[in-house]
């Protein structure tokens, strides 16, 4: 039997909302697939698209950017700047053939542990259905 594919997801979580929300999910013992590797940043505004591409190019199957809801940003509107970059990045990733389900921007407040768990859960399932991205291996493959 083939081994079940376990997606690798890199999460960029802002420390004020999404990261705290993710902590809350744990503290509340809400269960969700352990497929996400959280990386804490002060604000999603720090998430240079380079980092997203780096994750995909290094073997991640998906990337989640988690920030505060619009209007709640600890730094006024860093999340809106992220949204601007994300929309353009998403269009470009689409052109690269990377499915929309693989890279998501989600607003998760510090009180939304349940929501965070459901976001990760749905993302994991969707990516599991899409299959591995395996960008690194493909790109290293000898020219066909």
């Amino acid at each position: 039997m083939q081994e079940k594919f376990e997606p690798k997801i890199v999460g960029f979580l802002c420390r004020w909302c999404a990261y705290t929300g993710a902590d809350l999910a744990g503290t509340s013992r809400i269960k969700y697939p352990p497929n996400i590797n959280p990386i804490r940043v002060n604000c999603t505004g720090r998430v240079d698209p380079t980092l997203v591409l780096k994750a995909l190019a290094s073997g991640a199957d998906g990337v989640l950017i988690g920030g505060c809801h619009p209007g709640d940003c600890h730094y006024t509107n860093g999340n809106i700047k992220t949204l601007r970059r994300f929309k353009l990045l998403q269009n470009m990733l689409d052109q690269f053939g990377i499915e929309k389900e693989r890279v998501r921007l989600e607003w998760v407040s510090a009180s939304e542990g349940e929501r965070y768990a459901r976001v990760v859960e749905s993302m994991t399932e969707e990516i599991r259905n899409l299959g591995p991205l395996n960008w690194k291996r493909k790109e290293m493959e000898v020219i066909a």
């Binding site: 890199v10 999910a25 744990g26 503290t27 804490r40 940043v41 505004g45 073997g59 991640a60």
Partner: protein, 652 residues
């Protein structure tokens, strides 16, 4: 010095160990690059746990430490202190969260163990790129700047001064008092505005801790929390404040009368004047634009009659530089310009007046000594009050000005009280949200005011039948009756909305604070930090933040004072360590970052053609770092190398 990393995997009792095989995780970590030692232990946060780290630092010469345990929000500071006490910079410590975001989220031991390994691999890779950092602390200057001498600024100023701190209160006009000084009665209690305001104004004038600078404005404000410098321009009054005793001789003798701005140009004042009798300070100013000496070169009557020799035509503008630690912006509002709504005829139809003009008409010391009169000197027989002029209107301001419903009710009451006129109020919705407000509305309903629910389409002087001849016809759809009504009246009072002051943008620039879409100053959080701004140490209060009534303005003045005093009593503030750094050798001067910083921490050095960052203003969001197309900006503790390394490690 080669990296020697110590990795400590915490069991957290069974909290982690139940789903994560800590032993195998530690074993895995010990083979990661640069790891000198990897151990697992029951409770890393306990004293023995912390001791273990310190001992390893001393004995094995560790220079970087990773603890894999709970969330950094829980114990990051604990472990930073521990490594610091053993001589390792606290920022060379990295925490791996294998509890909240790993062991607690699943029952699958195999997956959780694998996840823990990946998370630790990320932290170990990252920590190699961590750099030592210092947390800077700066002292807080206890002096406070307050901009705006309306009721909000007065309240804040008195609160702070009473606590023994020094306040610099700056007011643009010749006297403090603001709009409230121009009002007759206040809703819903109908107590007279002057009676409650004047004592406070006098206290300000006499307070030993308040340095009052009227007829002045702040032209520059620089520095950072605890250490600002305000540059204040004091315009010449041409009257020496020290010598003048406010006797008023000069005003009486001045031969030139001009329209009084304080009275909305309905009454007159002299070319040397105090805007109103209770003005604080009581020193008059000479209006250079009109004064005969300044315009024609001759007169100087005031000088002749001044018993104290206080008139000084040679007085010059003065720039004062004041160091302060905090500032409260309470610059207030402007009323909406009614002439913009052409269909209401303000400025064209003489008996269409504004609510502010009405305040002056009904004020006992106003131009008509409190009588409500038409332009022809007769009292009106019918009066229409139109709500929401300039508010809740897509063409002007979309927001509700909050105070108009209530002051319109007050207006109706005063018209009723002082004349026999029939009063119509045209409203969209009646908003009576405050304490005693709904009761006030009920009272007015019983005072025989006719309320018409509908927005007025126009005020027309075109009569369509004899009963409308010579009248102002208010045309509105009565939405309760479902008909269009034409009501002929003698006087129309426009209830003006509140707007940001004309110079709000300038003030926002001066103080590096933001404005919301409507143009009012933006608070840090609408609910939890309503008087703070994104700029540390700068607070906003009163109507400069949004339309407010007097009780709310006073409450905000007090709140801002409390915030300021709390900062002062802390004596020192810590500066954010994770700030951005611009490498001027790399910066290409593309200016992309300039507008992005919410704290205006980035400025441009035109000479070197590079962006410059004021460290004390930066709060470390990293927006500029991600945007910089030259890669010239780094964020301390979140450098590109750190993040890229961590991303690569956890993605592999």
């Amino acid at each position: 010095m080669p990296e020697k990393i110590g990795v400590y995997v915490c069991h957290c009792g069974t909290n982690i160990a139940r789903t994560v095989d800590c032993k195998s995780v530690a074993e895995y970590a010990s083979h990661l690059p640069n790891v000198a030692v990897a151990r697992d232990y029951q409770y890393m946060c306990s004293d023995p746990g912390q001791e273990m780290i310190k001992k390893d630092i001393h004995e094995l010469g560790l220079n970087r430490v990773v603890v894999a345990s709970c969330s950094p929000l829980m114990h990051e500071s604990t472990f930073r202190r521990a490594v610091s006490s053993a001589g390792v910079n606290p920022f060379l410590f990295q925490m791996a969260n294998i509890r909240e975001q790993c062991s607690w989220i699943t029952e699958n031991r195999e997956l959780a163990t694998n996840r823990a390994k990946a998370i630790i691999a990320g932290a170990v890779t990252r920590v190699s790129f961590n750099e030592p950092l210092e947390i800077k602390k700066v002292p807080v200057n206890p002096d406070v700047l307050i901009v705006g001498g309306g009721i909000t600024g007065i309240e804040a100023g008195l609160q702070i001064a009473d606590s023994g701190r020094k306040v610099w209160l700056v007011e643009k006009e010749p006297s403090i008092g603001g709009y409230m000084a121009r009002f007759d009665k206040t809703f819903p209690t109908l107590d007279c505005a002057a009676c409650i305001l004047t004592p406070k104004m006098v206290s300000v004038g006499q307070h030993e801790n308040i340095e009052l600078l009227t007829y002045s404005d702040v032209i520059d404000f620089s520095g950072y929390v605890g250490n600002f410098t305000a540059k204040i321009r004091k315009r010449p009054r041409y009257v020496d404040e020290e010598k003048c005793n406010g006797c008023g001789q000069c005003e009486q003798k001045c031969p030139l009368s001009v329209p009084s701005e304080f009275d909305c140009n309905l009454g007159k004042r002299k070319a040397i004047y105090r805007p109103f009798p209770q003005a604080v300070p009581g020193t008059p100013v000479i209006d250079r634009e009109h004064c005969l000496y300044f315009t024609k070169g001759a007169c100087r009557v005031c000088e002749k009659f001044c018993p104290r020799g206080a008139i000084d035509f040679e007085q010059k503008e003065r720039i004062v530089e004041v160091p302060v630690g905090t500032a409260i912006i309470a610059t207030g509002f402007d009323v909406f310009d009614a002439s913009r709504v052409k269909e209401y005829g303000y400025g064209r139809l003489p008996n269409v007046i504004t609510s502010l003009e009405f305040e002056r008409l009904t004020h006992a010391s106003g131009p008509t000594a409190g009588k409500i009169l038409l332009r022809n000197g007769k009292p009106p027989e019918t009066v229409a009050i139109i709500h929401c002029v300039g508010s809740r209107d897509h063409n002007y301001n979309e927001y509700c000005s909050r105070v108009c419903c209530m002051y319109s009710l007050k207006t109706a009451h005063l018209v009723h009280e002082k004349t026999d006129a029939k009063v119509y109020e045209f409203y969209i919705d009646m908003r009576a949200f405050g304490k005693g407000y709904e009761e006030f509305y009920k009272r007015l309903l019983e005072e025989d005011v006719t309320f018409v629910r509908g927005r007025v389409a126009e005020v027309s002087e075109v009569a369509q039948n004899p009963s409308e001849k010579g009248k102002l016809v208010v045309v509105a759809e009565d939405t309760l009756l479902g008909i269009v009504r034409r009501i002929p009246v003698d006087m129309v009072i426009l209830s003006l909305g509140l707007e940001p002051r004309k110079d709000a943008l300038e003030v926002a620039h001066t103080f590096s604070i933001s404005r919301s879409r409507d143009g009012f100053f933006l608070e840090k959080h609408p609910k939890l930090a309503p008087v703070s701004t994104a700029a540390d140490g700068i607070f906003v209060a009163g109507t400069c933040q949004g339309p407010k009534d007097i009780p709310d303005s006073v409450a905000q003045g007090g709140a801002a004072a409390a915030n300021v005093l709390s900062l002062i009593d802390r004596k020192e503030v810590e500066l954010e360590p994770s700030i951005a750094i611009i490498d001027e050798n790399v910066c290409s001067g593309c200016k992309i970052c300039l507008g992005l910083c919410p704290y205006h921490a980035i400025t441009f050095d035109e000479e070197k053609s590079v962006a410059v960052l004021t460290a004390a203003l930066c709060k470390g969001c990293g927006v500029c770092v991600a945007a910089c197309p030259s890669g010239a900006i780094e964020q301390q503790n979140f450098t590109n190398s750190q993040l890229l390394a961590e991303v690569e490690a956890v993605s592999a």
